[in-house]
Amino acid sequence: MHSISRRRFVSLAAAGVVTAPTALKALPAGSLTAQDVVDRIKKNLGVEWKADSVDTFKAGDPSAAVTGIVTTALASLDVLAQAVKVGANMIVTSEPTFFARADTPTPAPRRFPRTAGAAPDAAPPTARSPDPVFSGKDEFIRKHNLIVWRFSDHWRQRTPDPFAQGLANVLGWSKSAGGDPRQLTIPQTSLEALVSHVKQSLKSRGGIRVVGDPKLRVGKVAILPGSTPIQASLKALPGVDTILAGEVREWESVEYVRDTVDLGGKKSLVLVGRIVSEEPGMQLCATWLKTIVPEVKTTWVAVPDPYWRPTL
């Protein structure tokens, strides 16, 4: 919770409207607060809530009445502006809002505090220096009284995995899922044709990168959205023809699949980018929220693939 909520609370308290335990009662009868929405999510998700999680409020006042909800993979300024346009003040995002896991409205000290001309070690710490992008976003959120809540750790714990299910739906493979959308059997096709289908279905611009023979026949697919460590790739690859993932570490899974292919394994890896891989899962999130929060309108807002690529 940031200062905006404290400030609002202080002003309400000063006006004699509220005291802390009865804050909710000050709202118009029947209004639903952002905290109410989160409480309903926690109650209905079917996943045990962890104390140590990134799934917390990142901006705005949890006790404010919700006018509408937007779900998105990334609460970019464009997405926030679209939320304002559709009259929604609560944004549910799977990725950070303030450009880091810490997700605070001021930047962390820079890792590479290189001032031009100075030796790397000579530069003074640049902690919390003003940053026009952090502050511009923070101002936009305050100006429009938006509330941002992150929903990542727990949404992906749901069974079946909504991020994999969402991808399977968008790719037209959901009927092939025999229960677990992370392991699919699809009609045989070539890797090249599969990649082209994935690119079109996910409206990918330049984010797709592929390891493997374009002519490889592919029928078994592991869907691993988000960020995939080597352990998950090692577990999945032997049982499938291709892994469709968001992002991996290149010195891990990319080299693992490259070696497997060069050693004669009929395998491949398709990377679509982390944000793009989580888009359909947040579309599913909107569908689900509608069932548990019927009082307000919930809208999914897409984020275009951040990446593009010049052509050779």
């Binding site: 450009f99 896991r101 930047p107 820079r110 992008v133 290149e250 080299e255 497997t260 690529r309 010049p310």
Partner: protein, 267 residues
């Protein structure tokens, strides 16, 4: 008759010529296969110690490989992570069959001055030293161009099929901060318009550059982010590494065996 050159002697000469004391605490810069007693017929430097690179090294008559990155698909080269996988044993069998020895040079390569990974990448990208703001700052002030033109130029120079760019292609850029591998500089430095590097986690890091550049673009703050790929970005400097090793191992041939870009990209 002189004694044959051993891998241990090559490593001793690397340590001697570095210009600073060897850091025994480095877990990366160690033998990954074979050991100091192996007789060296030829030395190949490469970026990733892939099976493909190993095979081409053998064809070129090299049995000592000096890679910058890991051999067994995890940074510490922890065999217990990978040994059950069907691709592990054939790679080891190949190494054994060809009496190969692998010694990784990563931490010391980055600590060396100059750091050859930067030298090689700047050379390959055509970033001449007259544009560098201060020696070894890896910060360049270039004649103004657009992000689109800069990225297209870099892609052609490196034949980088899977290059990825974030930002407005028409955005005017001049001040470039170069990174290599996973050491991607922060995009929010006030004196930087464009970051060019290898690889970085897309989000949940200390500064999520794709999201930052998207919002900077919306706010009219000119920023661009060019990811060359981990392999492509650090591969270049393995040529300088080969030349340096050659200067103190005249007994055997030394050469770069390039690690090819692992990716292809759809049209």
């Amino acid at each position: 008759m002189t004694d044959p050159l051993t891998a241990g002697e090559v490593v001793a000469r690397i340590k001697k010529n570095l210009g600073f004391p060897w850091r025994e605490s480095s877990r990366r810069d160690t033998f990954k296969f074979g050991g100091p007693d192996t007789v060296v017929k030829g030395i190949a430097t490469t970026m990733f110690c892939s099976y493909d690179a190993l095979r081409r090294a053998v064809e070129a008559g090299c049995n000592m490989i000096i890679p910058h990155e890991d051999t067994f698909w995890n940074d510490p080269d922890d065999i217990s992570v990978v040994s059950a996988d069907p691709s592990y044993q054939p790679k080891v069998d190949f190494l054994r069959q060809h009496d190969m020895v692998i010694f990784r040079i990563h931490d010391h390569m980055h600590a060396q001055r100059p750091d050859f990974t930067y030298v090689g990448l700047a050379r390959a990208l055509g970033l001449e030293s007259r544009y560098e703001t201060a020696p070894q700052s890896h910060h360049f002030t270039l004649p103004e161009t657009t992000l689109g033109e800069l990225a297209a130029n870099f892609q052609k120079r490196l034949n980088d099929k899977a290059i990825r760019v974030v930002g407005d292609p028409k955005c005017k850029v001049s001040r470039l901060q170069l990174g290599v591998g996973y050491a991607t500089p922060d995009i929010n430095s006030p004196d930087v318009d464009v970051v060019v590097s290898g690889e970085q986690q897309e989000s949940d890091g200390t500064l999520d550059s794709p999201a930052y550049v998207l919002d900077a673009t919306t706010l009219g703050v000119p920023k661009g982010w060019i990811m060359l790929g981990h392999c492509v970005s650090e591969q270049q400097g393995m040529l300088e590494m080969a030349q340096w090793i050659k200067s103190f191992t005249p007994e055997v041939p030394v050469q770069l065996v390039p690690s090819n870009e692992p990716f292809w990209a759809p049209k």
